[in-house]
Amino acid sequence: MKWETVIGLEVHTQLATRSKIFSGSSTAFGAAPNTQASAVDIALPGVLPVLNKGAVECAIKFGLAIGATLNRVNVFDRKNYFYPDLPKGYQISQLAKPIVEGGALTILVDGEEITVNLTRAHMEEDAGKSLHEDFHGMTGIDLNRAGTPLLEIVSEPEMRSSAEAVAYARALHTLVTWIGICDGNMQEGSFRVDANVSVRPVGQAEFGTRREIKNLNSFKFLQQAIDYEVRWQIETLEDGGRIEQATVLFDPDTGETRMMRSKEDAHDYRYFPDPDLLPVKLDEEWVEAVRAALPELPAAMQARFQRDYGVSPYDAGVLTGSRALADYFETVAKTCGQGKLAANWVMGELSATLNKAELDIAQSPVPAARLGALITRIQDGTLSGKLAKQVFEGLWEGAGEVDAIIEARGLKQLSDSGELETIIDEVLAANPKSVEEFRSGKEKAFNALVGQVMKASRGKANPAQVNELLKRKLG
């Protein structure tokens, strides 16, 4: 039987606010346990929540960025359950009236554009952390993270492979960091993915029973977990078993998923509107001000890069992988006026060198304007490709401006035709055999002669000029 995979993702993005969603505690990562847990965060008797405007603004930005409906009046609910990292015994979330509904994200998978629709995005507070290392057989609770603002972004079950799921998750990651609502740090838990996975026979209309893989904190694990889960579900069904709705965890060490709780253990969360918080109203003026301040979004920028700089759809996608990369590329392209060449350098030499050094684009020792200047010198014939790489090394080392490096290191291409002619004459004199072969019709011999000339010029000869002069002299 042929099976079809159905995937929907729920992504918890930590919003990049200074303070928590309902208290004035810092959200900074890595503080000593419970030093950033205020009276409100630890739920002392009598304390009350007050909503952080910054968190709401992040949610508005997101809603606008995905073309969603912003619910002008949205409501916070309480989700009730007991867990030691949940101090109030309920999580403040949004169920019936979330701030964001609908919207879509376009992704590129194997050269094909796919639109993934979003169901909703709602604001909620994060829980604390349980530390399971042994305290005399006890668990330690750190509430520093409790109350950190989250935007939970829920997609429709529209993805059909792990590749699509990863592409969607990456696009979402790019977007939330692009618009500055999330730092995107997956190691620190700023972007956590839950995947709802089911399979069904191809052609069947109803969905299969889904299992939810919780808390995936890298794209690699997302891919592995889904691939394992899909294989497991298909095998189970083909062996005559059935899938029970469940929540599972992915173990990166074994590469397997394992059951956390079944549907029977599912919580009865007893949601109801939080009486301590009033309905949140988004007035038009605010929404429009946020809209006006939004940066150009990745999709719009991709289209513009293709149009203005003639780059391919694929390259446009890569170059808009982050706002920093896109800005870098655009500065390079504008400086040199050569879009395609700029794209090649940014995605080629620069990316490779950054990768090797484990740096990201924002940390590049080569400023975009200098890379642009370098490309200008290729374009005007001052540098060959090979020389340009040497100049790039100089830029990387911080040796100064492009022209200064060319000058100081004597990397200028030979463009004085007199000097070049002398070299060519010497090469022709020293290689009579090759000259003979060329004249008898062997094209290959010509290339050998070009090579000899380049060698004799120590790489500084302009290959086009060498070709032209050689042809004339042999012709």
Partner: protein, 485 residues
């Protein structure tokens, strides 16, 4: 102490006839003498009280005194008070020393009013008799075989017994007004949102409201001036211009339209209470008021609605008491889950456990619409009845409670019988309206009878005006129980 009204005490302090320390000591002495028989206080700390009084004396000496600086007050043990044991009447918090001050406490501190201690209450404010307190029942100063009402029973009893010149209370379904009625004092529950709930341990967040309890309406007006005001830490606190609640006290009542809800004088009302309330109506007419019969057609649904909404909110509000961060933790348990279940079974009393379970049920899967949502809809019908009524009248009048104080233990085994005590007080909480109770007589056993006034939103000054004029013409509020030992 002859005239112990707040204005008289403030005048004596201002004239340096008595110091705040001396005044506080007098009350501490009376508490020491009477509390063993009344049990109105859970915590008394003379050292702290006198230190606060000394601070007040310093303010007075420096000429920085406010209208009530130096006058002591007792606080319901529902308000977190920095450095004081704050129990909410529960074993769950029997050892909880609050690390911060409730907004109300901050306001009284800023006003220079020393705290006489923390008053007893029904556990987590759930009760109408003060018998659910982990710290034992409070006794009614008029007859110690009787309950003082609840949940602010300790507050009402300490004021009635003149162990404090005034006290703070909270009212979710009648918890200021009903004990005020049963103890023969004056108590006011303000419009929801006028007094910050920050630091007030939550029972039912959308209904809870703090207010003053004192012998007279004038005292309550002075206290309300201290208690009310915007607090950015409470999202439901209203941003309003500060009012002087004493401003209308002396206005004549000529032309006042008093609404008498048919439903508040129907079956279930004790005859002696009905007679006293009718006499009070006659008195107001003599003072220039007119009466009009009104209907609050859905008020009969107030109790069922309340016993869905309040437990629902409470079940969630009380989930934080889990033995992890503060308060009681069961001494023995096997697992985390066992720790939760034992801690909560042992830490909460029977009534609190019952209400948590009601709340969990009405919110649980499959029951939400039939119970919770339905109750919220009827809540609106009840509020709409009031809006309509206030087109025909300026103030609504009726009994505070269907009867006078009952014997200790009389209703404690029958929750439903107990709940019916709040028949007339709950509607104002559901609508968020201000309500007050003032003494209007005594029954044949010598137990006080309470008259309830319900005003439109933000009409506290008018209610206090009506109450003050009534109290100028009567002396029910000035009577105190005699022979207390």
């Amino acid at each position: 102490m002859s005239d112990t009204s707040l204005s008289a005490l403030a005048a004596q302090l201002a004239a340096k006839q008595i110091s705040s320390r001396e005044l506080a000591q007098q009350y501490l002495d009376r508490i020491a003498a009477l509390n063993p028989s009344i049990n109105a206080f859970i915590t008394v700390d003379a050292h702290k009280t006198l230190a606060e009084a000394a601070d007040a004396d310093a303010l007075i000496a420096a000429g920085k005194a406010g209208p009530l600086t130096g006058v002591p007050i007792a606080h319901k043990d529902i308000f977190c008070t920095h450095g004081w044991l704050t129990t909410c009447g529960s074993k769950m918090l029997h050892n909880f020393v609050a690390p911060y001050d409730a907004h109300v406490i901050q306001r009284f501190k800023a006003a220079g009013m020393p705290s006489l201690g923390k008053t007893n209450m029904d556990e987590f404010a759930m009760g109408s008799s003060n018998e659910t307190s982990y710290f034992g029942a409070v006794r009614n100063p008029w007859n110690t075989g009787y309950v003082p009402g609840g949940s602010s029973g300790g507050a009402a009893a300490c004021v009635a017994a003149r162990m404090a010149p005034a006290a703070t209370g909270t009212d979710t379904g009648g918890s200021i007004r009903q004990p005020a009625a049963l103890c023969g004092i004056t108590g006011l529950k303000p419009t929801y949102g006028l007094v910050s709930r920050f630091g007030m341990i939550a029972f039912a967040s959308s209904l809870d409201q703090a207010g003053p309890m004192a012998p007279s309406a004038k005292d309550c007006a002075l206290l309300l001036n201290v208690m009310t005001g915007f607090d950015p830490n409470d999202s439901t606190s209203l941003e309003r211009q500060k009012e002087d609640y004493t401003r209308d006290l002396d206005k004549p009542l000529t032309g006042l339209r008093v609404g008498l809800p048919r439903e508040f004088f129907a079956e279930g009302l004790n005859n002696e209470v009905a007679a006293a309330v009718e006499a009070a109506v006659a008195e107001l007419k003599r003072l220039g008021a007119t009466t009009v019969e009104i209907s609050l057609a859905n008020s009969g649904l107030a109790i069922p609605v309340y016993y869905v909404l309040a437990p629902a909110e409470a079940s969630s509000n009380l989930s934080r008491f889990d033995g992890v961060r503060y308060g009681y933790r069961a001494p023995e348990y096997a697992t985390l889950d066992d720790m939760y279940c034992k801690t909560r079974a042992q830490g909460f009393g029977a009534e609190v456990r019952r209400r948590i379970m009601i709340g969990a049920y009405v919110l649980s899967h499959g029951y939400y619409d039939a119970y919770y949502l339905q109750a919220q809809k009827i809540r609106r019908l009840i509020a709409d009845d009031f809006s309509e009524a206030f087109e025909a009248c300026d103030i609504i009048l009726g009994p505070t409670a269907p009867g006078t104080a009952f014997r200790l233990g009389e209703k404690s085994d029958d929750p439903v019988e107990m709940y019916l005590n709040d028949l007339y007080t709950i509607p104002a909480n559901l609508a968020g309206l201000p309500g007050m109770s003032l003494p209007c007589g005594f029954d044949s056993s010598g137990l006080p009878i309470g008259l309830q006034l319900v005003g439109n939103y933000f009409s506290e000054a008018k209610m206090l005006n009506v109450a003050h004029q009534f109290q100028r013409a009567t002396d029910w509020h000035a009577r105190a129980p005699e022979g207390l030992r």
